[in-house]
């Protein structure tokens, strides 16, 4: 009796049958869904990263007594970058499990997954998802604030000439009162020919208008302003 005949007899005896096609289709679909999910999450992570980078002011490193490289190293959102790398890896792993995934080189899959994540992430960022995710994590995830550098860390240093808060009293573009975000202290802000950056124009303050100020601290409640920027 040949091996084929023995096997055939065993198949009959044990009543072995081919597994149904839907099982394999389901398995394949699950892999593709996991791959797509990994890409979507990667896109969301990219959108937060873009948001965190774009939310920083790249020209204030001098005020912080740092050079541009030191400043960049501080504001890099390592937390999100690590998550991005993990999900990029997950996307690759899932793609490898697809029927023909093995035919593509790792670097090509990672590149395509990275570029797709970037395109998705930019789209999500455009629709404000990055900001929303960051706010959600700030509110709900313990220690998140410590892990990610937000602009508020730089703008709560009046001694270094950086202050942020909400306008509470308006006397004109060169004289107004703000309540700072750090302690809620009120500051009399004065200046001459103050530069107001777009898109925020000088004018009567609406309720809760938030701004950033570059200038110098005069005393405990007075700040001389040179430039005003919108908080967002």
């Amino acid at each position: 009796m040949t091996i084929s005949e023995k096997t055939f007899a065993a198949i009959k005896e044990q009543k072995i049958t081919p597994k149904p096609r839907w099982e394999f289709i389901l398995k394949d679909s699950v892999v593709w869904v996991m791959f797509s999910l990994a890409l979507i999450v990667e896109g969301m992570l990219v959108s937060v990263t873009i948001f965190l980078f774009s939310d920083q002011d790249w020209d204030i490193y001098n005020k912080l007594e740092k050079n541009i490289v030191e400043y960049a190293l501080i504001i890099v959102p390592y937390f999100w970058l690590v998550l991005m790398a993990i999900f990029c890896g997950l996307a690759w792993l899932n793609f490898r499990q697809t029927k023909k995934g093995y035919r593509f080189h790792t670097y090509l899959v990672v590149l395509v997954s990275g570029v797709s994540g970037l395109i998705l992430g930019t789209t999500f960022f455009y629709f404000g998802l990055g900001n929303k995710i960051d706010q959600l994590f700030t509110a709900k995830v313990p220690y998140y604030e410590r892990m990610v550098c937000h602009k508020s860390e730089f703008w709560e240093q009046p001694k270094l000439g950086l202050l942020a808060g909400e306008i509470v009293l308006w006397d004109g573009p060169d004289r107004f009162v703000i309540k700072d975000f750090d302690n809620g202290n009120e500051w009399i802000v004065t200046g001459a020919q103050v530069i107001w950056r777009e898109p925020y124009q000088p004018g009567p303050p609406g309720p809760r208008r938030k701004i950033k100020l570059i200038g110098s601290q005069i005393n405990d409640n007075t700040f001389r302003v040179l430039e005003v920027r919108p908080w967002q």
């Binding site: 040949t2 091996i3 065993a10 198949i11 049958t17 081919p18 597994k19 029927k99 093995y102 080189h105």
Partner: protein, 202 residues
């Protein structure tokens, strides 16, 4: 469906036979018969198990392939698909029994595969067929598994790059690189083993 004569079945290609087997499972015997000698030889070449163990492995391969027939992708060659299952089964069997190398005749006679391997390596055949087969076998047995299996597939199983890529589940470029390294490793191993090949000077 009208009955198909055994003669017609023998003329069908593998992929058609798979479709027919899914309709009539009795026909699986024809597929198994086609691959029995090839796969048994392949198992022996890549695994270092005894012939009896190789037969058990082959039986498992055939059963697994039968259970997964609906998973077969007609974009692949059936032979690539079943060689892949065989390779996976050999690896799984190895993990299970932790097989120790045994003396198994990998290559009975130096056929065109061995000749092509040596010619690709610029090695002159200074030996008679049987001696040559023994020497090649000696070198292959001592080689790293990943190099050995790619040489076996290319030269002894006569598979194309695409087929090797589908069997090993590696990209084509990686297969080409692996094969180049395997050839270098073969030459190096031949020198280490003191195998009596006459290397052609470049």
């Amino acid at each position: 469906m009208p009955p198909i004569s055994p003669k017609d079945l023998l003329q069908k290609n593998d992929e058609d036979l798979v479709k027919l087997t899914l309709e009539n499972q009795e026909l699986y015997l024809y597929l198994m018969r086609r691959y029995e000698p090839k796969l048994l030889r392949y198992i022996l070449r890549i695994s270092n198990v005894s012939e009896a163990e190789a037969e058990d492995v082959l039986q498992d391969v055939f059963i697994k392939a039968f259970q997964h027939l609906n998973e077969f992708d007609p974009d692949l060659k059936f032979s690539s698909w079943i060689y892949r299952i065989t390779r996976n089964q050999v690896i799984s069997n190895y993990r299970k029994i932790k097989a120790r190398p045994q003396t198994v005749e990998l290559i009975e006679e130096a056929g065109t595969g061995v000749e092509k391997l040596l010619s690709d390596l610029d090695i002159e055949e200074a030996l008679n067929n049987h001696e040559l087969a023994l020497e090649v076998e000696k070198v292959l047995t001592a080689m790293d598994q990943k190099y050995k299996e790619v040489l076996v597939l290319k030269y002894l199983e006569d598979k194309s790059y695409q087929e090797i890529s589908d069997i090993l589940k590696k990209p084509l470029g990686t297969v080409a690189t692996l094969l180049n390294r395997a050839k270098q490793a073969f030459k190096k191993q031949a020198t280490v083993q003191g195998v009596n090949f006459a290397l052609v000077e470049a």
